[in-house]
């Protein structure tokens, strides 16, 4: 991946496991032996899939989608503080011009101080409709400015890459809230590789495509095999038998999704990229109501040291993909967007000063987006630390004034009914991003 090029080896990517953080797993044995038929009351209209009602009581069917922009997304380009003149002397070539009427090369005004990059134009309608919030100067406490350490901190849900919880933060969410009878698709990573936020998750699924969740055989008849497995698993009352029947249900549900059900709704047009495809498949699973609680999509290509571009070029193209994919996702979801919260984050922002190669180096504070029908959007959250030399961090970086875990924690509390202290070591004050 692209960020390996600037750090050489993975030697810096080390985990310091700590025994201080104990995971408590509520091993609730309720529901064992009920089988899937016992939950007929909460069948989804689409596919006859059943959902554990106890889980639904906690999450109310809500879904968290985590989009991780890997490599350090330049938050000062995505959402530029044009109200602070200084940005134009710090980035004489890279800062996009302040908002101008009828110009495609200037920022789109958000609140009279911040402007959205023109390549993110598809998001401005969502912002105006208050379905998207921006959090600026957000990040971890990691001071190394190393992709590996900063990413490891965020994937682990730690303050920085020092001592702290081991394993992924989504894994801890799954363990803290898991119950027998949970869907095999509770956590889905849309891609071939499971992100480290799901490290140690024994029951998460990496799904390169919806078609990949199926039995694979080149010698046996799959229908016959499926019928045999159904007979074997249908007679038992143990947790393995119950889970086996649910797994068969999920396979059949996914197989039964015809092209029409997989197609985007409401005229949504996704870019044909990994991010577009990932979000489109997430929307399909959300509609299919297969019990998915957390979805992750990783997007690379953000390590823009050289020639990142101003209103056109490498970075604007990446931003354009993000804007189009998120906008299509929200359009596709339609009314379902009320049950979906999407967090777009990156391991750090980039230096406030442009470098000699017309790019930007690793920095600290960046920006994040939170989208959804229940988001109190149309606002840029987080105290603005300022760009004066004495306000900057280290070699000239935007200071971090909002802990990224405050955002994730608020979504866990407000949407997934889970105490964030069971996931992050710290209890952090919510920003008020969500409608209450």
């Amino acid at each position: 991946m692209s960020w390996t090029t600037c750090e050489g080896s993975e030697a810096g990517y080390r985990h310091r496991a700590s025994g201080a953080f104990a995971v408590s797993r509520r091993q609730l044995m309720v529901g064992v032996g009920m089988g899937t038929l016992g939950w007929a009351s909460s069948r989804s209209a689409l596919a006859g899939m059943t959902v554990n009602p106890r889980r639904a009581d906690r999450t109310h069917g809500n879904v968290l989608v985590v989009v991780f922009l890997r490599g350090g997304m330049d938050g000062l380009s995505a959402v530029t503080p044009y109200g602070e003149e200084r940005i134009y002397s710090m980035r004489p070539n890279l800062a996009v011009a302040a908002p101008k009427v009828n110009s495609k090369d200037s920022l789109i005004d958000l609140d009279g101080f911040f402007g959205l990059h023109p390549s993110l134009a598809p998001l401005s309608d969502l912002y105006a409709a208050k379905q998207m919030a921006v959090i600026h100067a957000i990040g971890s406490q990691d001071q190394t400015r190393s992709h590996f350490e900063a990413m490891a901190a965020m994937d682990r849900g730690a303050a920085d890459d020092g001592l702290g919880p081991a394993g992924g933060w989504i894994t801890r969410y799954l363990l803290a809230s898991g119950q027998t009878g949970d869907s095999p698709l509770r956590a889905v990573s849309f891609g071939t590789v499971m992100p480290d936020s799901l490290r140690g998750a024994t029951n998460a699924t990496a799904l390169p495509s919806l078609d990949s969740y199926r039995l694979t055989s080149d010698k046996h008849d799959l229908a016959e095999l499926t019928a045999t497995i159904r007979r074997l698993y249908g007679k038992g009352q143990d947790v393995a038998s119950t889970a086996g029947m649910e797994t068969l249900e999920v396979i059949e549900t996914l197989n039964r999704l015809n092209p029409d059900e997989r197609a985007p709704r409401h005229g949504a047009k996704y870019p044909t990229t990994g991010m577009g495809t990932g979000l489109q498949q997430a929307a399909t699973l959300i509609r299919a109501k297969v019990g998915m609680e957390v979805a992750t999509v990783d997007v690379g290509g953000w390590d823009t040291h050289v020639a990142q571009g101003t209103s056109i070029g490498w970075l604007p193209t990446r931003l354009e993909e993000v804007g189009q994919a998120l906008s299509a996702f929200m359009q596709d979801l339609g009314p379902d967007a009320d049950s979906v919260t999407t967090v777009v984050m990156s391991e750090f922002g980039r230096r406030a000063y442009e470098n000699g190669g017309l790019g930007t180096d690793h920095g600290r504070g960046g920006c994040a987006f939170v989208l959804g029908g229940e988001v109190q959007g149309g606002k840029v959250y987080g105290p603005w630390p300022g760009l004066k030399p004495e306000q900057l961090d280290g070699p000239g970086d935007l200071r971090v004034t909002t802990d990224y875990r405050a955002v994730l924690g608020e979504v866990l509390t407000g949407r997934l009914g889970t105490d964030p202290r069971s996931v992050f070591e710290a209890g952090l004050n919510p920003l008020g991003l969500l409608k209450t």
């Binding site: 091993q27 998750a201 029951n203 055989s217 095999l225 074997l232």
Partner: protein, 144 residues
């Protein structure tokens, strides 16, 4: 149980075997709940039962990873959990492993056709490999 172990420890002046005896023979252990095979356990049991040969490398480890237990990747000092519920979400990966094993699709792993299990199955079934896959895929085989 702890009291008995303590008494045995003191009476024998720290003989480990005598100290462990009351623990391992206790009602709590003998009548304890069944243990679901964790993926590593499942794969090793399947390899042994079928008399397959494996180099233990990437080919077979990919299956271990798909089942949720990438080799030596657990970061916490307590080891991969034994809770059954943590492992039942990846049964599909176990089924696909069983099929890949009998169909010879795991690089570095080869099924034996001379093992006792195979020979017995050959007498019982016209499709011994299929019977083998189904046995490995059964819910009963997921338990220790």
């Amino acid at each position: 149980m702890r009291g008995e172990a303590e008494r045995a420890f003191l009476a024998t002046k720290g003989d480990i075997r005598e100290t462990l005896r009351p623990i391992l023979q206790s009602k709590e252990i003998l009548d304890g709940p069944p243990i679901l095979r964790r993926p590593f356990d499942f794969i090793v049991a399947a390899i042994r039962a079928t008399g397959a040969q494996t180099d233990g490398n990437a080919g077979i480890q990919a299956h271990l990873t798909a089942m949720g237990q990438p080799l030596n990747q657990w970061l916490m000092p307590d080891g991969y959990t034994e809770s059954a519920g943590a492992w039942t979400g990846t049964l599909l990966a176990r089924w696909n492993f069983a099929l890949a094993l009998v169909e010879g699709r795991i690089p570095g792993t080869k099924l034996s056709d001379t093992s006792r299990t195979q020979q017995t199955l050959a007498h019982l079934s016209q499709h011994p490999n299929e019977s083998l896959a189904i046995a490995l895929m059964s819910p009963e085989y997921q338990w220790r």
